[in-house]
Amino acid sequence: MPTTITPTSTEPKPRRHLEDHDHGSGRRPPTDKRTGGGGDNDNWNDRPNGRRGPRERLVRYRMGIFFALASDLMFFVAIVSTFFVSQSTGHFDAYNNFVNEWSPTLIPPILWLNTAVLILSSITMETARRRMFHEVDVMDEWLGLGKPITRAAIPWVAATVVLGIVFLVGQWIAWTQLAVQHVFFLSNPSSHFFYLITGVHGIHLILGIFSLIAALAGLYVSRSLETRQIMVDCAAWYWHSMGIFWLFLFTLLVFFQ
């Protein structure tokens, strides 16, 4: 008759050493995605949460920025739904005929250029982000061969900053062009929304530029590779979603007035 023999575990479970914990920038190469095992007495699951290797902090911050962007999305959704409503609400004048004062704001053509610039900046930012995780450079840096990551990423981040500023200037020009046509914030419900949307989005971009500059500074200053990766990564995701928000808002302003 068949019998199943379950071998009792002969070797004792490897003891944890309190001193060998890894704060993310430790002995473990930052590109390493293994968590433990391998009999190397270094099972990362034996660590308390928050101490489990290079990418954990990164993932946490990434998720944080995503939730922030989600709630920001609701902010824009609220404004857009107000846009739809006030677009079609009217009132009755004394003679009981329906008046809707909404007259579409003409979109200054420069906005198309700005949009292209923003898309371009997103591309440069993505390149910078990718550079931060470029495995060979990461290994070089981890082995102590200078800061190739920083060197590789800085120009791209800087380019993004420049493009972002160009975009903002472009938006400002668009505003002045409208002002020349005597379309002001107060002129009309649709102009309310044009200035409101572009303005709010512009403020978001200014914040984005600040975070990019912070990331640049971090690239110079910070010694921890992981910190630099986090800064650039979060700034990048924020920047991308601002670009996507702009694409939606721009389509709204162009086609849905």
Binding site: A94, Y95, N96
Partner: protein, 252 residues
């Protein structure tokens, strides 16, 4: 000391109908029946739940319940109960609000402003005159800004108390000059916010002649508490006399 003094008689009386005020409208009794049904049901449910809680706390310890039936059967029962109440309420709601007033209904405009109610009757030509906010001047006796240039407006009757004939449907067009007010007549089981920029129609039929309270139920400023008026429901003939008198006054 007794912190409050209540005549026991009136208190018991008001408890019997849960303190609901007198009901003077045609659609009211149905609403009251449904409301009282609801109140008795939730009173029963609350009592039952507390009874179960107490018994469960007092009784001797026993092994914990594992069958999910204890969860799902009562839940299903409650769901059915709520569905029943919803359907019943929706039918009343539909009867009250889905359809417009019948064309023969008496047309009255209700206008709320800080902090008074004004009521406008279309007058002999059965047509409301044009109003302009620029012309509003309560001091000059034109609180609604009726345009004198418009012929329809000249015979409009504006009063500060709502006078209605009994047993005739009335179609109120409610709006507001300044901020959101709440037009509420408890004895008619009637409530509708007066929203500036919107004309909202509600229709009902007063039944019992008498004088009833009209309240503002949406906070509208420091005079919110005293923004009220009287609703006088008259027998049809007295109402006709009142209207005729008012019209004569306006013509002059």
């Amino acid at each position: 000391m007794i912190p409050f003094s209540i005549q026991p008689g009136t208190f018991a009386l008001s408890l019997a109908t849960w303190g609901l005020p007198f009901d003077a409208s045609v659609h009211g009794p149905a609403v009251d029946r449904h409301l009282l049904l609801n109140l008795w049901i939730i009173l029963g449910l609350a009592a039952l739940a507390h009874l179960i809680l107490l018994v469960g706390l007092i009784a001797r310890r026993r092994a914990e319940a594992t069958s999910w039936r204890v969860e799902y059967l009562p839940l299903a029962a409650l769901a059915l109960l709520f569905a029943f109440l919803t359907v019943r309420a929706e039918r009343l709601w539909a009867a009250a609000r889905y359809t417009g007033a019948d064309p023969a209904a008496l047309q009255v405009q209700v206008v709320g402003e800080q902090f008074a109610w004004y009521f406008r009757y279309p007058g002999a030509d059965y047509t409301f005159g044009i109003t302009r906010p620029q012309l509003v001047d309560a001091g000059a006796g034109n609180p609604l800004g009726i345009d004198p240039a418009d012929g329809h407006g000249t015979d409009d009757i504006v009063t500060s108390e709502l006078v209605l004939p009994a047993d005739r449907q009335v179609d109120l067009r409610i709006n507001s000059l300044d901020v959101i007010h709440g037009f509420s007549v408890p004895e008619m089981r009637l409530k509708q916010n007066a929203v500036p920029g919107m004309t909202i129609h509600v229709h009902f039929t007063p039944k019992v002649p008498g004088t009833y309270a009209i309240l503002c139920t949406q906070v509208c400023g420091l005079g919110h508490y005293r923004m009220n008026a009287n609703l006088r429901v008259l027998p049809p003939n007295e109402f006709a006399a009142w209207l005729a008198a008012k019209q004569k006054a306006v013509q002059r």
